[in-house]
């Protein structure tokens, strides 16, 4: 496996690992790992280190909504221009151009239903190129970034097995 890909796969699973620990796992030197990570950060291949949180566990009821956005393109404004305009709002958690019946799938994060609804009607629907929007509020999340949010299976193995 390509060294960089190998280190990235390890970090993708657990960003908390130190260069020293990664060096122990891969056999590459600590300095080599540090230089590689620095390079990948500069390249913006590594964008950011974040934590996946189940907010419900701590009683923080955040509201997420999936918004379907249909747009009309003009000579002056293509997909990228419209997407960047939407993406810059901090309320926008994610935005993707998708195939199918609409153009953009936007994930909006807010404190409550009203906040999200007003954000969509005031900030997204009013963009001239936006033809219409459909808002789906998220009722429950089962899997996020490859991590399941429901109780995982316990280890049922016997303690000593030949």
């Amino acid at each position: 496996m390509d060294k960089e890909v190998e280190v990235l796969k390890i970090l993708e699973e657990n960003a908390k690992l130190t260069p020293e620990e990664i060096s122990e796992m891969t056999g590459y030197s600590k300095t080599e790992i540090e230089e590689m990570i620095k390079k990948l950060e500069d390249l913006r291949a590594i964008l950011k280190y974040k934590t996946i949180i189940d907010w419900e566990k701590v009683g923080e009821e955040l509201v997420f909504a999936v918004i379907e956005v249909r747009v009309s393109l003009t000579r002056e404004k293509g997909y990228d221009d419209i997407a960047k305009r939407i993406a810059k709002f901090p309320e926008v958690h994610a935005i993707r151009l998708v195939s199918g019946e609409y153009d953009f799938q936007v994930i909006v994060k807010g404190k409550n239903l009203k906040e999200v609804a007003f954000f969509v009607s005031e900030k997204i629907s009013t963009i001239p190129e936006v033809r219409n929007t459909v808002t789906h509020f998220v009722l429950r999340t089962y899997k996020e970034e490859g991590v399941t949010l429901f109780e995982d299976e316990e280890d049922r193995r016997l303690a000593i097995v030949p």
């Binding site: 796969k9 122990e24 796992m25 193995r157 000593i160 030949p162």
Partner: protein
């Protein structure tokens, strides 16, 4: 005087050395166990989902004694990667490799026939050979854990063995063989007319070199019984599904025993196994990469306080603990009592395993790190 109730053969059979240790641990959830010889990954969901679907569809009957034809065809294709050309007719789907060991030995042994078993060894070969009326002869392989032509020839000359049981990558030592080393074993096997029973259950977990089956070497297909299964590579331990690849005469003999004693392997597990071969090779690559990282990490940590060479495969480290002046059992027992880490004493895998312990690194990184810290503390505490 009442009549003897238990057969003499069984009564004289020693219980597994692991058992006593297991009793010390049972019911304790505060320990980190490095004693588990099975993957900590669950069966990949695709495989489980396929088995659930098959149950819903009513696939609950017997299969042919041989096993599902599609599965045997898939195994023929799959085993080409380890160098073996076979045909579906020469494959039997067994209830795990354990059954494979049993029917292989029973198919070839007459009373008193000698079987060579290199030690340290997985715990079941010797008792199985004895149950098949054979004479199990241990070959100590300390400290390399490997056979070579001279050693094997020496034992073959003395004992005129019918067969030898190989297991590589090896449980408990993690050792494996290169093609060149296998050729030496093959030369001796041909020279002394031995059948090789080759348990290759850890084949997918080879880290140094690609696994090669001994049956792939010249002149060996006709005298090899290859055993493998889905427990380690696909984590399907409790589903009990394995297979044998052997010449047609031996396959016919094994099938006779299999059809009377087992009839067929569980159909649900066979369907899961087929799905594993069809679609799970990528997943397995990821699992292998993860074990490799754990091995690198854990063995390097062990090296700080104990003597150990980098193992080639499986998920076991088998360090030498003689520098501690403790016996294997004392070491394992004190480590458990004082540091809450469970390992298996090396002598459970044969006499020459004395002075070693087996640590399975099939556990997550955090636990592995903690266990390594505690082993280090424990060994250092002995020096003062």
């Amino acid at each position: 005087m009442s009549r003897r109730r238990i057969s003499k053969k069984v009564e004289e059979l020693k219980p597994s050395g692991i058992r006593r240790f297991f009793d010390l641990i049972i019911g304790r959830d505060d320990i980190i166990s490095l004693g588990v010889g099975e993957p900590d990954f669950p069966v990949p969901w695709r495989i489980r989902e396929e088995m659930i679907y098959s149950l819903e569809k009513g696939y609950t009957s017997y299969t042919s004694n041989h096993g599902l034809p599609e599965l045997r065809e898939a195994i023929v294709e799959y085993y080409k990667k380890f160098g073996v050309e076979s045909i579906p007719e020469n494959i039997i789907i067994t209830t795990g490799v354990s059954e494979g060991v049993d029917i292989a030995l029973r198919a070839i042994l007459d009373a008193g026939d000698a079987v060579l078993i290199p030690e340290p060894t997985y715990v079941s070969y010797k008792p199985m050979a004895i149950l098949a009326d054979g004479e199990a002869i241990s070959i100590p392989t300390i400290p390399t854990f490997k056979l070579n032509y001279e050693l094997l020839s020496q034992y073959a000359k003395e004992t005129n063995p019918k067969a030898i049981v190989l297991n590589y990558p090896n449980n408990p030592t993690g050792m494996s063989y290169t093609k060149k080393e296998l050729e030496e074993i093959a030369d001796a096997a041909i020279e002394y007319d031995m059948i090789v029973i080759s348990d290759e259950i850890y084949a997918e977990l080879s880290y140094k070199e690609k696994h090669i089956s001994i049956a792939a070497l010249e002149g060996m297909a006709e005298r090899s019984i290859v055993l493998n299964g889905f427990s380690k590579a696909f984590a399907m331990t409790g589903l009990r599904v394995g297979y044998t690849i052997a010449p047609s005469d031996i396959t016919a003999a094994m099938l006779k025993i299999h059809q009377y004693s087992m009839l067929c392997a569980p159909i649900t597990a066979q369907i899961g196994a087929l799905e594993a071969l069809k679609n799970e090779e990528d997943e397995m690559e990821n699992i292998r990469a993860e074990y490799l990282r754990r091995r690198n990490f854990f063995v390097k940590r062990l090296k700080k306080v104990l003597e150990i060479d980098m193992p080639d495969g499986a998920f076991y480290a088998f360090p030498n603990i003689k520098n501690t002046n403790l016996s294997s059992e004392e070491f394992a027992e004190r480590l458990l009592m004082e540091k809450n880490v469970a390992v298996v004493p090396g002598n459970a895998f044969g006499e020459c395993g004395e002075g070693y312990i087996r640590c399975a690194y099939a556990t997550n990184m955090e636990k592995l790190r903690e266990a390594a810290d505690r082993i280090e503390e424990f060994v250092n505490s002995l020096k003062f």
